[in-house]
Symmetry: C3
Subunit: 198 residues, 3 copies
C-alpha cells in the first residue's frame, strides 16, 4: 500500500484538519435531521472525504487520499462521535455549522490547490481543484439530505470564496512569494470572503 | 479487453447474483413510480452496478467490473424486463422491495469485502468497501427518485448490517477459519441484522 | 500534461460543441432558478462536462477530457456568461432549454460512442458510453436543482433517443459504411427521436 511518503507535512496537516472539520459539519447536518449514530457517521465521513475524493478521481491520482491513509476515516468517525455526544448542548446548531463550514472551506481550498500545483497542472485546473475539493463533499451532503445546496444559496459567496482563494495562491506564486505564504493567504482570503457573506 | 481470468468463481457468482437482485429492486422502484420501460431499465442498471462501480473507482481497480464483463449489464436489463412484465401482480411491491434489497445486501457485502481483501487492503478499507458496495447503488437510486434514502432511515440497520458483515469476515479470517466460511458468515450476519430490523 | 495529440479533429469538434451547448442548458436552468452569476457558471460547467467525465471515469481514460484540455472549461464559462446577459430576453426559457438539450444530445451521443469504439470496446459498452455521455450531466443538473430528471420523464424518449443513436452507428459500422457516415446518422437519429417526442 501507499503510505504518506512523498507528501509534505503541510499537505498531511491540511488533509487531517479539513477532514475533521468537514466531518463535524456533516455530523451537525445529521444532528439537525435527528438521525441515529450510524447516520452521524455516514454524513461525517461523506462530507469529510467527498470533496477530496472527487478531486483525486478527476485528477487521476493513483490512490485516493483516504485509501492511502485510512486513519483519516477514523478521524471523521471521531468527529461524528463528538458531535453525537455534544450537539444537543449547542444553542444554535445551524450557526455553528456555518462557521465550521467556513473554516473547513478555508482549509480545503489550499489543500486542493496545493495538490494540483504540486502535480504540475495549469491555472484553470488548479482553480477547479480548489473549488471541487471545497464544495463537492458539502454538495453531496446537502443533495442526499434533500436540502438546498449551501454552495448555491444566493449571497453566500461560497464558490466565489473558494475561487478567490485559488486565484490568490496562483497570483502570489507568480509574483515570486514563498509558496507557503501563498497557501496561508489563500486560506485567509477564502475565509474572509465566506465569513463576510454570512 | 480484460476478461474474467483471475477472478475466483465465487467472486463471479457473487457479482452476478448481486447485480441481478439489486436490479430487481431498482426496477421495483421504477414500478412504484409508474415509469416506462426505459425508466425500469435505467433504475435496474443504476442500482445493480452503482455500488460496485463506486467501490472499483475508489479502490483504483484497473477496469470497472461491468466494463470488463458487459454481460452483467444484460443481466440487469433482464431483471428490469421481468419486473416490468410481472410487477403489477405483486400484492405489496414495497415489502417485496425490502426483502429483495436485504438479500442483495447479503450478497453485495461479501462480494465487496472479498475483493478488497484479495487486493491486499487493511481492515478499515475492507469495511468501507463492504459498506460502499452494499449501499451506493441504492443510495443513488433513492436520491434520483427523490425518496428518503433507505440507508438513512432510522431503525433500519442498513449500514449497520453491512458493517457487521464486514467485521465478521475480518474476524473469522484473523481467527484462522477458511476464507469461504468467513464470506458465508458475513452474508448471514448481514442478512440477519437487516432482516431483523425490518 | 496530455495534449490533444492523437484525437481526431471530429472528436475535438464534437467535444467543444457538446460542452458549449450543454453549458447553455445548464445556465438556462440556473436562469429559471434565478441564481446569481456563480450559480450560472456552476450549472453550466457541471452540465457541460458531467456526462463526459462520468464516461471517462468508467472507461478508465487516462486523463479526463477536460483535464487534458482545460479550455473546454472556459467554453462552458463563456456559455454561462452569454446566458446570464441574455436569458431575460427569451420569451420561453423552458422551450429553448428543451431544444438546446436535444441538440446537445445529438452531439454528445456520437462523441461518446466514437470514443468507446476507438478504444476498442464491444457493443454493450459502446451503447452505455453513448447513453452515459448524453445523460449523466443533465441528470446531475436536475438532481442538484431538485427537479424531476428530464431523462426519466415519461414520453420524452430521452434515453431511448441516445440508445437509438448508439445502435445506429454500431449497425452502420457493421454493414461497412464509412465511420463518419455512421456518426452523422447517429446524431440525426438521436435528434429525430428526441425532437419528435417533445
Amino acid at each position: 500500500m501507499i503510505s504518506e511518503v512523498g507528501l509534505s507535512e503541510v499537505q498531511i496537516f491540511l488533509d487531517y484538519a479539513s477532514v475533521f472539520i468537514f466531518a463535524l459539519t456533516g455530523a451537525l447536518v445529521a444532528s439537525r435531521g435527528q438521525l441515529d449514530i450510524v447516520g452521524f457517521i455516514f454524513f461525517a465521513v461523506l462530507t469529510a472525504v467527498g470533496g477530496g475524493t472527487v478531486r483525486d478521481l478527476l485528477l487521476g491520482r493513483e490512490v485516493i487520499f483516504w485509501v492511502a491513509r485510512p486513519n483519516l476515516i477514523l478521524a471523521a468517525v471521531a468527529a461524528a462521535l463528538i458531535v453525537f455526544l455534544t450537539a444537543h448542548r449547542l444553542e444554535s446548531r445551524y450557526r455553528t455549522l456555518l462557521w465550521l463550514d467556513a473554516l473547513a472551506l478555508a482549509v480545503a481550498v489550499p489543500a486542493g490547490v496545493d495538490f494540483a500545483i504540486g502535480a504540475g497542472y495549469g491555472a484553470i485546473i488548479v482553480a477547479m481543484a480548489g473549488v471541487i475539493t471545497a464544495s463537492a463533499g458539502g454538495l453531496m451532503r446537502d443533495v442526499i439530505s434533500n436540502e438546498v445546496p449551501l454552495v448555491l444559496k444566493q449571497g453566500e459567496l461560497y464558490l466565489t470564496a473558494a475561487f478567490g482563494g485559488a486565484i490568490t495562491v496562483l497570483a502570489l506564486d507568480r509574483l515570486g512569494f514563498p509558496h507557503g505564504w501563498g497557501l496561508i493567504a489563500c486560506g485567509a482570503v477564502t475565509f474572509g470572503l465566506r465569513a463576510g457573506s454570512m
